[in-house]
Symmetry: C2
Amino acid sequence: MGLLGGSVWLLCVSTALAASSLRQPRHVEAPRSASPSGSLWPLPRVLHISAAQLQLAPKRFQIVHGSGSSAGPRCSLLQDAFRRYYEYIFGYSKWQNHDDKSLANTELTALQVIITAEESDCDKYPDISSDEAYQLYVGEPVAVLKAGKVWGALRGLETFSQLVYEDDYGSFFINASDITDSPRFAHRGILIDTSRHFLPLKSILTNLDAMAFNKFNVLHWHIVDDQSFPYQSVTFPELSAEGAYSYNHIYTPTDVRLVIEYARLRGIRVLPEFDTPGHTRSWGEGQKDILTPCYNGEHPSGSYGPVNPVLNSTYNFMAKLFKEISTVFPDDYIHLGGDEVDFTCWKSNPDVKEFVKKQGIWYSYAKLESYYIEKMLDIVSSINKKAIVWQEVFDNGAELPSDSIVEVWMGNLYQEELRQVTKEGLSAILAAPWYLDYISYGQDWKKYYNVEPLSFLGCESQKKLVIGGEACLWGEFVDATNLIPRLWPRASAIGERLWSSKNVTDLEDAYTRLVEHRCRMLRRGIAAQPLYVGFCRHEVRDP
Amino acid sequence: MGLLGGSVWLLCVSTALAASSLRQPRHVEAPRSASPSGSLWPLPRVLHISAAQLQLAPKRFQIVHGSGSSAGPRCSLLQDAFRRYYEYIFGYSKWQNHDDKSLANTELTALQVIITAEESDCDKYPDISSDEAYQLYVGEPVAVLKAGKVWGALRGLETFSQLVYEDDYGSFFINASDITDSPRFAHRGILIDTSRHFLPLKSILTNLDAMAFNKFNVLHWHIVDDQSFPYQSVTFPELSAEGAYSYNHIYTPTDVRLVIEYARLRGIRVLPEFDTPGHTRSWGEGQKDILTPCYNGEHPSGSYGPVNPVLNSTYNFMAKLFKEISTVFPDDYIHLGGDEVDFTCWKSNPDVKEFVKKQGIWYSYAKLESYYIEKMLDIVSSINKKAIVWQEVFDNGAELPSDSIVEVWMGNLYQEELRQVTKEGLSAILAAPWYLDYISYGQDWKKYYNVEPLSFLGCESQKKLVIGGEACLWGEFVDATNLIPRLWPRASAIGERLWSSKNVTDLEDAYTRLVEHRCRMLRRGIAAQPLYVGFCRHEVRDP
């Protein structure tokens, strides 16, 4: 709905934030490292760690399906996760085959994973309402991880793996613990940009690993843009044949499926963005007439502007392309972009001018953009998908379906934008303070960590409409050479902000845990850059 | 000599810079890429490239010793270089075994390398006065590379390899060319810091490769500092045993020898820095009494300050340690540091206070630092080495031997500092505008490129005392995860500034060449980050 439209605003009274159920006290009984919470990242909602140590014997320890679980050996998502986390826990020790005689009096022999809901979601894709809650009880002789769905089990496995530590003698221990956890925000995304620079499949998969380690659950794949069109369309193969940087810089249908499945196995949604009508120069390479010819006075200048909004052929093309996209990408949402549309070219084109006049939108090119986007929204609805758009679509007054999501990205007034979007009853995702492509000297992770997404003027019902946020690593200066160290552990700060309770704001404690978490990422093959001076016991494996 | 000392200043008259012999016109006849100079980086002094293409057949082409060369097959430095550059030229083609039928009418069958001086320097170490000049003539049927010494031959091989290009069919070509080249500055360094973070040997060697690709010739190894002491001393093994981050974070004598030899084979000096009297916290871990005990009023506070300058034991220790350093590191120079000495602790210590009083230096702790440094300079002289120091040593008025070099690193007044240092007749190295650890968004390489090291007030004889510069990548936020992409190609900008003629300042031309040079570095295994949007035909080999 438009800002000035007559639609009903959410009526609510601004109140001081009530103490939410998320603000439960953290009971931490047994500090065993510099942080009372060990190396946990992000911090669970409720956490009890006791002083009692249990030893794990790599040869005997097992991760298994617990009795009563609705998932079993046929759930390959969990089977894969069990194997993966066993490897993360024990795989980096040089001494894993040493004599497993117990040093502690007590041994933890297994982690039993129990999916409590009738439907485990094992073969499904995660979505915005996926249940990621879990409970983890670690005690002798077995630990029990309970989750309604596999998504919570994945998060709990990550937490369990973070609780295990290796002593100086190569023995593995875990402290008896009791954890109840669930995310504060449902949408916790990382934006990657594969148009400004192509990212090899391996980089994307490695990044998905890192996302799982930080409990992110959305890969926002800004897959095409002005610079290149690496998405290989089956319906319109010319788009990548002409618009990709080269034949080697293309994501085939197989590649895309692989990314989606690799993400699914880690509880991560893949949200595709096909940004229009701006940011589309590369589309014009392989699709005739899709872009607006710009004019220099009365003659075409030879250059092209945004998508041509006045031709029926445009919408026919878009309907077919987005139909394909809706089948390739299983997510309920498609990101339609809609940002940074430059009206100069539209204003120069006589057909566009004539159209604007005829439509009676009185030379408002913002309204022309809304006209275009509303057509796109219709296409998206017709293929049973929902839309996410950048904030300008909202700002320009497009009529947005109530299930749309507005992504807030612009500068310093993002709190006011959040207020306005949610006042219209629309859901919002916050990206503005988390543009990780803007680098600076020093520990900038603190700046990202200090952001409180709900610190805008609005009532509780408005706050609830902020469903999450995204760390955006735009690709102008990023490719496979620097993607991972530039993103991690800076994005980890945002991961904790979006997962953990609002009152988790202690920078010193966060630093201590994040240092260890970063070393853990290194051990697991993520070349996360250092936070500050120091070292990891296991440095990067292949510098 | 001190700033206020009565020593004789270099007398000279400031004049407008005369057109130097370096400012020869570049004749470029045959542009074959976006830059008339192809992908050459840094740009040679005199360059003629003709339109005539010669083809190279990987199966037949050879790099050989030319007749009359004073070096032959027994010169393993050149033998290794021949093999290495053959691999750089042909090694990345997928089609190198394809049929070598000539497409051009003319073929280049060999590069003959001729060392013209009687003494080739083949088994020597490079030094500050090493001759790096070379002449390269590429014509049918053979190319000839002439250099006085092997150092020039190494630079010429790099240039030759940059001239060869692969066409779309996998055939290799080079244009007939005539190049006369030599560096503008003799000291072209990269500073790495292995104390704030340990850098694995492999990272250091990879960086040496990249340095050779950019014609850098000094690895300034800031090997120890407050945070850790990774240098394993044979004389004082406790220094690293106690002062290194861990047993795995140590450079053994074998490691150090390997770095030095790997560097030598690429014409790169290894300049060790053992920074004292500040930046020495880690020294205190393994060496009793080396640091000054700080006092809180009348009692030791338990913390320690800079090296203790009042004990004879300090200088006995330093004499032994530096004696060892002088044998381990073959370079003529040792960097003594001398930067950022905090006097607070010295001022608190009663023994130091008493000493200052007795010495009659009237509570000038800057003079105490000079006292200390002069003792260190005596030690260095006694082991037949020369000293490089950070600028504070000069600023504080220490009596510096005339063969010392002052490294200028502080902030925005570096031009004035250069003026003052050279006015005293001392040589200077410029680092101030090239602190690459300070990162920022965008194409900051342009800022580094635009620096003109001699743009300070001073006469020609002063300008000649500026012997070069260094790109410094301090290690607070850098380790093996991000060293290479953070350093390259940003340091390349400084590489060209220090090698090429003063009038090579065209940013657009530089951008075009640097984009290709960066792709070449990627092909050769250097994960240099992108300059801006775009792609390389061969992306990073193992992201």
